[in-house]
């Protein structure tokens, strides 16, 4: 992990971000470093003149979100040092409107999950007070190591509390934890052990595990609500970095700077320029592309001996590397992700791609004319949307529709008999022959024509993503069409997808939902249309889209009705009133 900012770099040297906010750390935390890390990402945003302006909305929804596993771990690593990564596996949230992260706004905490948090807290706290590394985080010394020390405990608890709760602790809360640290230190006759016990408790606090967004009246617009400064900082940081805010962002919240247009833009640009953006963009795309599937994916090794556990891990990594490289390093057009021949190859993937194995991850460009073009032809997409021992045109077509175009495909009817597809006589050799059965049967055809014509274009790749020209001796026909656009092979499919209007509107919709932590609704349509137009005006650059969303009014404003204004209900739109009365 490296950072764009001098203060963070120095903090890293000392092991934690906490050191950076302490008096013992280098004092200045000023501006981007000119000689920033080699991971320097998107170029500073250049304002492109716009023909559109953000439509008026009531703002987004206020949420109680549960920190995801990665948000929790990223925050710990940032605050306490990159070596602080406890084994903490949280149950996955329920995928909601295409995103796991939206499930986090509904999920509760089970007793089992509480145990996981507590175990992680014990591990983290033990590392913090460990004699060999305690100076990284505990930047004061107790007068007597064998006794309580109010001043030092108070300092650590204040600093840690602010970073992990994403706002300063109230004096009352701080005093309660300090009292616990002192009591425990006295009982255990050990300052550090006592402090450790208080830190354990802080780490399982609901203010750490839950993100409770708070709102306040927006002084600029009477009747309108907005996120309070710390909630806004947290929403922004979870969106761009998939972690809690850093010291500087919290300072901008504390001073109120974040509520000014200029101040907010400064923070957003700083965060977009940081190397921590990689982590945020990876999280967004990992979620959006459904890569949690990898956690349970396995292939029949008797059919696919090269599809090892390492290949599985690397396949996910390959696509995320391309996403980061293309969208951030090169500031590329989102649509070109589906046509680019540039990728990264690892030794395990080289076996499946049938390339000479590089010694380590290496950037690679498939030759012109190659059928490998765009992330649809990555092993990740091809293998996750296949069966354990064979490819599936239907699964691939369905994934393309649902993940990339935001078009839900209905599930098969309950009483369907699939045995025709089995073809025991073996006269149907290719996948196309077999799925044509679906298309002949009107009951099946309705849905299968949504998925199969584009899925079949990927049939040059088997169930693990290896290239093939024939199936059971018969040549594979990979021609097809996507919503009226015909193509002759997978390169054509990539291009058709690239040009499909739903490709960009889908990523806009998902990114906005992800940013605000809530599914979009019909009421958001004008807003999403605006974001999409801006996205286009700016050449479909992902950092620009993220910037537009982060700086939009809807991102910061909260749709919350003002308390009991008389006659307020009379102004409900007529459709809602009708719905309300017809219930």
């Amino acid at each position: 992990m490296s950072s764009h900012y001098k203060c963070s770099v120095s903090a890293l040297l000392r092991g934690s971000a906490l050191a950076a906010v302490s008096a013992f750390a280098l004092a200045s935390c000023s501006g981007p470093a000119a000689d920033s890390s080699p991971a320097a990402s998107a170029k500073p945003a250049v304002e492109v003149a716009s023909k559109v302006s953000e439509p008026e909305t009531d703002g987004s929804t206020k949420r109680l979100r549960l920190l995801t596993q990665d948000q929790y771990l990223n925050t710990l690593a940032y605050v306490f040092g990159p070596d602080v990564r406890p084994d903490a596996y949280f149950p996955p949230a329920q995928r909601t409107d295409g995103l796991l992260s939206l499930g986090a706004a509904k999920a509760g905490i089970t007793p089992t999950r509480m145990e996981v948090y507590q175990k992680a807290a014990v591990t983290v706290s033990a590392l913090i007070v460990d004699p060999t590394r305690r100076n990284f985080v505990i930047t004061c010394k107790p007068a007597d190591e064998k006794a309580a020390d109010r001043a030092c405990a108070s300092k650590v608890i204040t600093d840690v509390g602010r970073l992990i709760s994403r706002r300063p602790l109230t004096a009352e809360k701080r005093d309660a934890f300090v009292a616990q640290a002192n009591e425990a230190a006295t009982k255990l006759k050990d300052f550090y052990a006592g402090l450790g016990v208080a830190l354990e408790a802080m780490l399982v606090s609901p203010n750490v595990l839950f993100v409770a967004e708070r709102s306040e009246p927006d002084p600029a617009t009477p009747g309108q609500y907005r996120l309070d400064a710390y909630s806004l900082a947290t929403r922004l940081s979870l969106f761009l970095w998939n972690a809690a805010p850093d010291d500087e962002l919290l300072k901008a919240a504390q001073s109120g700077e974040i509520h000014t247009a200029k101040g907010m833009a400064k923070q957003v640009d700083r965060m977009l320029a940081s190397a921590r953006l990689d982590q945020g963009v990876r999280a967004l795309f990992d979620d959006m592309y459904g890569f949690d599937t990898f956690n349970a994916l396995s292939k029949d090794t008797s059919v696919y001996p090269t599809f090892t556990g390492q290949a599985l891990t690397d396949a996910r990594e390959e696509t995320l590397r391309v996403v980061v490289d293309h969208l951030l390093r090169q500031n590329g057009d989102y649509r070109d992700l589906f046509t680019t021949r540039e990728t990264f190859i690892s030794p395990a993937l080289a076996a499946i791609y049938r390339l000479p194995a590089p010694p380590r991850w290496t950037k690679y460009e498939f030759p012109e004319g190659s059928q490998r073009a765009g992330i649809l032809t990555h092993i990740s997409f091809l293998a996750t949307h296949s069966h354990p021992a064979r490819s599936s045109a239907t699964l691939r077509g369905k994934a393309l529709r649902e993940l990339l175009l935001c078009q839900p495909v209905p599930p098969p009817p309950a009483n369907v008999d699939f045995s025709a597809v089995e073809n025991p006589k073996g006269n149907l050799r290719t996948a196309r022959d077999r799925v044509n059965f679906h298309l002949e049967n009107p009951v099946c055809a309705g849905c299968h024509k949504i998925t199969d014509p584009m899925g079949l274009a990927l049939e040059n790749f088997d169930g693990e993503g290896r290239f093939r020209e024939t199936e059971r001796g018969a040549p594979i026909d990979v021609s097809g069409s996507l919503d009226g656009k015909a193509f002759k092979d997978v390169v054509g499919l990539g291009q058709a997808l690239h040009d499909h209007p739903a490709l960009t509107s889908c990523v806009v919709k998902r990114t906005y939902a992800y940013a605000t932590g809530a599914p979009t609704s019909n009421a958001d349509r004008p807003l999403l249309a605006y974001f999409n137009t801006r996205f286009g005006e700016q050449g479909y650059k992902m950092p620009d889209l993220m910037r537009t969303i982060a700086l939009s009014k809807s991102f910061a404003q909260i749709s919350e009705k003002a308390p009991a204004a008389p006659g307020k209900t009379a102004s409900l739109p007529s459709s809602q009133t009708a719905a309300a009365t017809s219930n």
């Binding site: 509760g108 007793p111 809360k173 609901p206 949690d292 597809v421 025991p424």
Partner: protein, 443 residues
Amino acid sequence: MTEFNRRRVLRGMLNGGAVTVGLPLLNTFLNGNGNAMADGTSMPVRFGTWFWGLGMSKSIFVPKQTGANYELPEEIESLRPIQKHMNLLTNLTAYRDGAFFCHYTGWVVFRTGSSPQVNDQAPGESVDVTIANQIGRSTRFKSLTAAATGDIRTVVSYENANTPNSSEVSPLNLYTRLFGADFQNPNAPTFTPSPKVMVRKSALSSVVDEIKDLEKVVGAEDKARLDQYFTGLRHLEQQFDHQLTKPEPRPACVPAAAPKEAQTGNEAQLVRQRHKLMSELLAMAAACDQTRVFNLSWSNASSNTTKPGYDKPHHTCTHEEGVDEKLGYQVNASWFARRSFEAWAEYVQAFANIKEGDGTLLDNCFIMANTDVAYARVHSLEGMPAFTAGKAGGKIKTGLHVDCKDGQGTSLGFTAMKIMGLDTESWGTKSNQTSKTISEILA
């Protein structure tokens, strides 16, 4: 905590008033018959569940006879060693009530009493949670859930509609959670409460106050989530209490050494390796009274278990494989189903292998096993099978095949609730609502 600190704490305890208690011989805590504690309280009755995906092949699964001593048909031949310990229930129905999700509706009706109206979203808490809230409060773990599938997304238990209980998928992790550093062997000769745990418990009280602030800023729906968090906090407190209390001796509690990390993968044999370790660990967890409620799943509802050299995983196979004209069933689908029933036998046997009092641990358990469909090929929810195992401390008869004659699938969960002492008149909603127990198996 480092070794250095641990030693320091132990040294500190000499002044801190911690006590070391010598424990008397184990058996003096049991009465003469060994089926109850010396003070007359009987052995706890535990509740367990087991899940397998994709039903069965009716023609070679459903026995021709009902009652005792029925002949085991081909597909469930492997149940012979446990036939006397279990009951086979056939012909149960799960009602759709206006919504149907192929591999979800059926098992969710059995587990929650209601037909889900949204895919992958439970209508409410599952039966194991209802029972655990009744009988699981006094043990270290309210309940334990594990899955042999290797997939953390395997869900068979719901705390409530939006909160699935995640499954432990690594036998080693399950072992560590149960018998790792925090385990207190109930049969240890001495007992020393840890001063660190005492202060840890005390520190949690500061956290409880924080909920109050949050409650002020969230809506009604989210208040329920904070309540749940609060329950979780209480659970932690309770675990600390356990660590600070001298445990009752449990002669049957003899944990094995830690298993090696099991291989991942969906191949039936690998799933079986994990399943065996998990069955034994859950049985020992019950024997050591670490929990009184446990869930294990052999496969997912859309089971992705694979057979070496065969190109379709279990779920795909049930849909795509033709029915063998001569045999009258899907040969490979039955191969998968047979592996499932072997695993069920293994699970039940793990509990039967542990002696408790003058019987076995299984005698003091009630385990229910269910699936998602009767005939996977067409997702039928009529004619569904289920199993029970164990005598529930004498409340249940075993060794029977009961034809439930299209009865409600929810009668199984309702029976479990009644046996476990829940004071409830009925269970389930709409067509799945029932107030009928499966009387044939009640002792």
